[in-house]
């Protein structure tokens, strides 16, 4: 594995520490490596954790464990399978592309980079995502999200496309408590969302052509990764979206009274 651009690791029966140590060994010994392929992954946690190399792709075959790509800053992870709890947790930069579903808290506290999930995500996804200057986290969900999507969201973008694998419409979303405590960023959901589905501090805003321009590139990227045809792409771009954004930057500004006079 000294000088190759592609390194394959068979993760069968490997403990997570052993697997991650192997990945770091490859990175240390072989600065030329461009792609690491992990085969037979079964629940190993923390893959890609804290890795900074920008021109690196990690391909995962199987189901990686929790905190996939946590603190990651640069690489692209492509998962051929579902992911567990908190993929992209506190991620800084890079991409995670999931050919399957993401577990609960997908994109927890994400600060930058992009996550594309072909199917669904669990509860509290995109919770407390935040942006700062050029760091703008984006979570694109092909299917649907469970409740508390974008809770405490402080920045970035969540896009829910609401389609199945073939690009067919899934109908009105059912998630509730969307954007509870949101105080930054925006959530775009394809189709109608009722007021009662929103959490405290979230508000439905007008979806403008400007918004459409903002999400267009991410839709194209999504269709590209998951091989969706032009017809589906056009449909997604031209659909009606519900934009959910904060009522205010200071949701708790009026909660307290000083113990003074």
């Amino acid at each position: 594995m000294e000088n190759e651009e592609v390194v394959v690791i068979d993760a069968k029966d490997m403990n997570y520490r052993e697997l991650n140590e192997k990945i770091h060994e490859v990175l240390n010994k072989n600065p030329r490596v461009k792609k690491i392929i992990l085969k037979n992954v079964l629940g190993q946690r923390y893959i890609g954790n804290g890795i900074r190399k920008k021109d690196l792709t990690i391909e995962i075959y199987g189901v990686p464990g929790g905190d996939l790509g946590m603190f990651m800053s640069g690489p692209t992870i492509i998962v051929y399978g579902n992911t567990e709890h908190a993929p992209g947790n506190t991620m800084d930069d890079g991409k995670i592309i999931i050919h399957g579903s993401g577990g609960d808290v997908t994109g927890h506290s994400m600060r930058g980079g992009k996550i594309f999930v072909r199917d669904d995500v669990g509860y509290r996804s995109g919770i407390h995502m935040k942006e700062y200057k050029d760091k703008f986290p984006v979570l694109v969900i092909g299917g649907r999200a469970k409740d508390f999507l974008g809770e405490y969201m402080a920045g970035g973008m969540i896009l829910v496309l609401n389609i199945d694998r073939e690009g067919r419409d899934l109908g009105k979303i059912r998630g509730r408590m969307i954007g509870t405590g949101i105080h930054g960023g925006s959530i775009y959901i394809r189709g109608e969302v009722d007021e009662y589905q929103l959490g405290v501090a979230a508000d439905i805003k007008e979806f403008t052509e400007e918004d459409r321009e903002k999400i267009k590139g991410y839709i194209e990227e999504f269709c590209n990764y998951f091989n969706l045809n032009e017809r589906v792409k056009e449909k997604l771009i031209n659909s009606k979206y519900t934009k959910i954004a904060p009522v205010s930057k200071r949701p708790f500004g009026k909660l307290y009274t000083p113990d003074l006079r």
Binding site: R45, G50, T90, S109, E151, H183, T257
Partner: protein, 510 residues
């Protein structure tokens, strides 16, 4: 209209004979108590919180601040404070916000515990002539040490040399068991942070970053800073984690167990926004739980994730508030690969907490330390995890007692701030701190001299360290290791049987 004004808490008086109308008080008071009107200083006593800035700075010592004696009809149940709070809340409909630590009259067990000293049978040790070992290692200790014997040739002779086989987990090396607690940049000013960072570096100990990221001005001291990861994950990236000496996961805080924190938007200045990595002017909200931790297994996942991010080179601490089941929780933490558990007692300080939490939630630190130490010993995992005690440590005696009850080291917070000038006026959350400590206003922050502040905090740590040595010597002990969990050197005074049992100590006389 129902008038909601209540009498001012304090009465400010200027001795007009002494006053030379220099206007220093007007300048120094960031609360607007004084206004200069032609040849007179006008006083608004209702704005005064008794922070003493004006009293100390007045060149003529002309200012007196005293408790206002306008009396309320006295009543044992309906105290003035209770009545004031009701008036305030019936007017605003809001949650009462407060600062500093628990202000209720609960027993302070530290003050009901006395220390032992040697007489005749076992001579005391004089620290002036014999070394006293205060060095403390925070982190996992191996259950046993294994060696392998390697044969080496030295000067033509074959010698068997012992080599350590056991892998030692990374530990923090403290020259004194006193560290400075996590107080964030944002809640505190940069000058306050810098002063404390300089002091801990000088003293060979550590300070916590708090949940606010690490300002670049603190990078030179990062090897003496424990970085914090709390539920808001502010300022957390892989560089931040690797920069510090250790990482602390904040689950709870003694001043407000069970709730998160809100740094109000007005305190999120350009610099604070940069360190926290959030836009300027937005509320920085730390949710009550970490939303990726809903169980002890999830906590273990985060502990290990942080270790992975730092290639298992940094110790990871977990801070919890002292609550009823603290022993069981700490035991769970001990099984999570964490290296230390921080127990924050109910007297722990805060820059802002709902008063109802500050005053009513959590348990006394003294009992929490004893319970945790006891349980970890019973479970045979005490070596797996160090105990750091914090929340209301006021003196070297408190440090000594905390260690004898079972802690490895302590964090001090309010005490370090008092060294920087804080007078505990309890209005940190207003951002108006006249001493330049709990504020982001540049004109106030610059009042705090970093070098002088550093010297004072270092002095405090050094003075307590000296006293600890003296106390150890008097007890006939020459290493802090031998004091840890050594409750036989403590006796209770005026405590009942249940209290003594909870503390695991005997009453004086036995």
């Amino acid at each position: 209209m129902i008038p909601s004004a209540v009498p001012p808490k304090f009465k400010v008086e200027i001795d007009r004979e002494k006053c030379m109308l220099c206007g220093r008080c007007v300048e120094e008071c960031s609360w607007g108590v004084y206004r200069k009107e032609r040849d007179r200083i006008v006083i608004y006593s209702n704005r005064c919180g008794a922070c003493q800035r004006c009293v100390v700075m007045c060149p003529r010592n002309a200012i007196t601040v005293r408790e206002n004696t306008t009396c309320w009809r006295s009543h044992p149940l309906w105290t003035a404070e209770v009545r004031e709070d009701i008036i305030n809340q019936s007017k605003t409909g809001r949650v009462l916000l407060s600062a500093t630590g628990n202000a209720m009259d609960y027993p302070i067990y530290f003050d009901r515990i006395v220390l032992d000293a040697c007489q005749v049978t076992n001579p005391p040790i004089d620290p002036l002539r014999e070394p006293m070992e205060l060095r403390t290692y925070i982190g996992k200790k191996p259950k046993k040490l294994e060696f392998e014997f390697v044969e080496e040739e030295v000067d033509g002779k074959k010698i068997k040399k012992a080599k350590l086989k056991t892998k030692i987990a990374p530990n923090l090396k403290l020259e004194t068991p006193i560290m400075i607690a996590h107080m964030s940049y944002g809640a505190l000013s940069l000058n306050a942070h810098l002063a404390m960072a300089k002091a801990v570096k000088e003293c060979g100990t550590y300070m916590g970053s708090g949940e606010g990221g690490l300002h670049r001005a603190l990078y030179p001291y990062a090897d003496h800073i424990i970085t914090q990861v709390a539920s808001g994950r502010f300022g957390v990236d892989v560089d931040y984690l690797n920069r510090g000496a250790a990482i602390e996961i904040k689950i709870g805080q003694g001043a407000k167990p069970g709730i998160g924190g809100h740094l109000p938007g007005e305190k999120v200045t350009a610099e604070v926004s940069m360190t926290r990595m959030i836009p300027e002017g937005t509320d920085a909200i730390s949710p009550a739980p970490h939303h990726d931790i809903y169980s002890i297994e999830d906590l273990a996942q985060l502990v290990r994730s942080l270790k992975e991010a730092t290639r298992w080179k940094k110790p990871v601490f977990v801070k919890i508030a002292a609550v009823h089941n603290v022993a069981a929780i700490a035991n769970g933490i001990a099984t999570s690969d964490a290296d230390a558990v921080v127990i924050d007692g109910f007297r722990g300080g805060t820059g802002a907490a709902p008063k109802v939490f500050r005053d009513h939630v959590g348990i006394p630190l003294e009992m929490a330390i004893a319970a945790v130490d006891e349980r970890l010993r019973e479970e045979g995992v005490r070596n797996e995890i160090s105990i750091i005690a914090s929340g209301g440590i006021r003196s070297s005696a408190d440090v000594f007692k905390a260690i004898a009850l079972g802690a490895d080291a302590v964090y001090i917070g309010t005490a370090a701030l008092i060294a920087l000038g804080c007078r505990v006026c309890g209005r940190c959350y207003t951002g108006q701190c006249a001493w330049g400590i709990a504020t982001q206003k540049p004109e106030l922050v610059e009042r705090l001299d970093v070098e002088e502040g550093a010297r004072r905090v270092a002095n405090l740590i050094k003075a307590w360290t000296l006293e600890l040595k003296e106390l150890l010597g008097a007890a006939g002990i020459n290493a802090i290791e031998s004091l840890r969990g050594n409750r036989d050197r403590l006796r209770g005074v005026g405590l009942n049987e249940v209290e003594l049992k909870a503390l695991g100590i005997k009453h004086a006389g036995f």
